[in-house]
């Protein structure tokens, strides 16, 4: 269950926390209005289009603002740097920009900055890390000093999702003079915090931007300073949280969270996120000659796994078992699909019916998932006569084995880029691309149409049909949603969003 880099035994955390009875000095951030946070992973760059890690993207949302903002409570899109926006047609959106926005270097934001940024990051030469965020942009056009028109290559139902937070706006003059490398260490944005000090890969000091524009849906930052440090070892984080040098850490494994919750100054909170676990079944394994080609075998696999039992015993928190190939909080996630309740006897019967009364043997490749969860699944499957050999892999070789058809079963997780739309979950895996091994002739057209339509009702309908088919044919074993555990100072009031972003500008002292 642990994600600690050195795999230190859980016992150690217990000793560590036991030893903390004699408490440390008052380093706590409340006194000097400084929020001390730690990440395990390094922030690669603050030129966020080049960043692939979650931590860097979290930081970027503090420093940069985008045209739109997504309210995670209501799911609605609100104008951020834009004052208003209008969807002109399937391939065109017009933006009226706010006239009171300043970048951290004091320069006012105009249409030039927006046009420059959108054209820059969508260019081939720029080489954005996640093309999905930018590849749909044809070009941005200046209509006036504060008016911008965005042209799309093809209708993109996720355009607003991408424009909300995922497409930060850069100051044209500054970026032109410093380039990507300059931006990566001395970022200048229009967000609620500005970066004042940075030791690459180690320490980032942010300060509230006092000239932040009125009317932003983010609101001005409440806490004056924020110091973020990179502490790769989880136990070091616990030590500092307990003695007050840290106010906030996240991605705490459940067993450590229980220990931390017993500390006098520490509060632990838990939030459901977009990420979910699943087993992907390759029906075309060994050119369709393996037992997996038979839908009854795939259904048997579905029935053999005791999802609620595993969630209860090993995951807990806000996680829940799922039946459909998406996260229920995503738009378009049809949950009324054929369900396969846990039933070992029925799974066995289905296997026998498919001509395997003595059971079957398969490899199960898994990656980016705690081993104990994989073992629990393997144990469940074994009881139904599906003997799996667990093959734990690093992410890259695991996913390559899957894409190249060398793995019959892949157990892993998917975060949907934190976006609440099934276009980025089921839409990614069954639309006939290199990530789709089922290549189902009925599913592909439904998803292709839904992925390219701006009509929400039609999309919902198409996704629903596709998800029902996927469940009927049992191409996946959808497992459970994830949750993130945050441990923070009791003085701090901060919430964790389902998109795996943390809105530190809303955080405040109690």
């Amino acid at each position: 269950m642990r994600k600690s880099t050195t795999q230190a035994p859980a016992l150690l955390a217990a000793i560590l926390l036991g030893a903390s009875a004699a408490s440390g000095p008052a380093f706590a951030g409340k006194a000097d209005d400084t929020l001390n946070a730690a990440f395990s992973a390094e922030v690669t760059t603050l030129d966020p289009y080049k960043e692939s890690g979650r931590e860097g993207l979290v930081m970027a949302r503090l420093i940069y603002d985008a045209l739109l903002y997504k309210d995670m409570k209501t799911g609605e899109f609100r104008p951020e740097l834009a004052e208003s926006y209008k969807v002109v047609d399937d391939k065109t959106i017009d933006f009226k920009l706010r006239q009171n926005v300043k970048f951290h270097n004091g320069q006012p934001m105009t249409a030039d900055d927006v046009v420059y940024t959108l054209n820059l990051v969508s260019s081939k030469e720029y080489n954005a890390r996640y093309q999905i965020a930018v590849e749909w942009i044809d070009r941005a056009e200046k209509l006036g000093e504060f008016d911008v028109r965005l042209h799309m290559k093809k209708p993109n139902p996720l355009a607003l999702e991408m424009l909300a937070g995922n497409l930060p706006i850069y100051p044209k003059a500054y970026y032109e003079s410093v380039g990507s490398q300059g931006m990566s260490v001395k970022p200048v944005g229009a967000g609620p915090y500005k970066l004042v000090e940075l030791t690459p890969g180690t320490r980032y000091v942010l300060e509230r931007f006092e000239d932040y524009y009125a009317g932003s849906p983010k609101g001005a930052a409440k806490i004056k300073r924020m110091v973020t440090r990179v502490l790769p070892e989880a136990n070091t984080q616990y030590a500092e949280l307990v003695n007050g040098q840290l106010d906030w850490i996240w991605r705490v494994p459940p067993d450590d969270a229980r220990n931390l919750a017993r500390q006098a100054k520490v509060a632990v909170s838990n939030a459901q996120i977009m990420r979910f676990a699943y087993i992907s079944i390759n029906p075309n394994y060994q050119d369709g000659k393996s037992p997996l080609a038979d839908v009854r075998v795939r259904q048997a696999i579905n029935m053999a796994v005791d999802k609620p039992g595993i969630v209860k015993a090993l995951i807990g928190g806000a996680s829940q078992a799922i039946a459909s190939a998406c996260n229920p909080i995503q738009f378009g996630c049809e949950t009324d699909v054929k369900a396969y309740p846990f039933d070992t006897a029925k799974a066995k019967a289905l296997l026998a019916e498919a001509g395997h009364p003595d059971g079957i043997k398969l490899d199960l490749v898994f990656t980016s998932l705690p081993r104990i969860q994989a073992e629990a699944i393997a144990n469940n499957l074994g009881k139904a006569g599906i003997q799996v050999t667990l093959n734990e892999q690093q992410y890259a070789p695991g996913i390559s084995a899957w894409r190249e058809g060398r793995a019959p079963l892949l157990l892993t997780n998917w975060g949907s880029y934190g976006v609440g739309d099934v276009g980025l979950s089921v839409g990614q895996f069954f639309s006939g691309t290199g990530d789709d091994l089922a290549k189902d002739k009925d599913v592909i057209p439904l998803l292709q149409s839904a992925n390219a339509s701006m009509d929400r009702a039609k999309r919902k309908d198409d996704y629903s049909k596709a998800l029902k088919l996927i469940a009927d044919k049992a191409y996946w074993v959808p497992l459970w949603t994830y949750n993130v555990i945050t441990a923070h100072s009791k003085d701090l009031d901060v919430t964790q969003n389902a998109d795996e972003f943390v809105e530190f500008y809303r955080a405040n002292w109690k």
Binding site: A19, I132, T202, R229, P232, A239, N243
Partner: protein, 310 residues
Amino acid sequence: MLRFILRRSGSALILMVVVSFVAFMLIFAAGDPAVKLAGEAGSSADAARIRALYGFDKPIPVQFFHWIAAAVRGNFGHSLYFDQPVASILFDRLGVTLLLGLTSFIFALVLAFPLGIAAARWQNTWIDRTALVIAVVGQAMPTFWFALLLVILFSVTFPILPTSGSETWQHFVMPSIVLGYFAAPAIMRLTRSGMITALETDYIRTARAMGIAPRNVLLKYALRNALIPVVSVSAAQLGYMLAGSVVVESVFAINGAGRLAWESILRSDLPTVQALVLCFSLVYVILTFLADILNAWLDPRMRLADARTD
């Protein structure tokens, strides 16, 4: 002596090329670098784009040749992950790691020499046994465990030392102790056995018979001979410490070359890994080289043996 140096440099160079080729191959063996660079949210299309962009689709020997041809000209390329020149990334990180290596090494010597000498001088007494226990514990205890114990003691229970970072000298105290203690046992035990052997030799008996003060016999006559194997081992231990720094740098959040190496391997950042492998093997080569010269100085027979084979 010049021939000795030239021959050593030649074999060192070949060694470094071989090491860097093996490292290059291992990166590919550990999974498709394009998939790793695309990140855990990257689609198969992202991976394909990166594969073509960085030429990962070419045969590995061809890629290696391209890399080494540029490296020879002093161009280590751009980090695929940081999108910055490798040289500038390395420059900052290596300094911290070398400093940590040095302070740890000093700690190791300060711990190992007196204990090793004392254990030999008072062989089979409680002093010897205490030294043995210290050595065994140092060898057996995993570094991350010892590091966390120190954190509990000096940062949580008695908060006198900082847990993370490398800004002040205080930041180096715990990491140096952890890393130095890991390297000390081998040096300590070798000092002890070297001293015991030396103390039993005829010339020491003669020196004693001549009435030379026991302290001088011990530190001047015996130690010099006992040191010869210790020097070679110390050089190797310093190399091990660079390897051990991966764990210690993680626990104490020191942004050094060890951590960079480990993370770059996970990220398949080929140019960075290659440059680091080259730097580390260079450090090894220089260390063993220095050890050889130091030994030659300590023991004239080595110089003479080398001259005779010429």
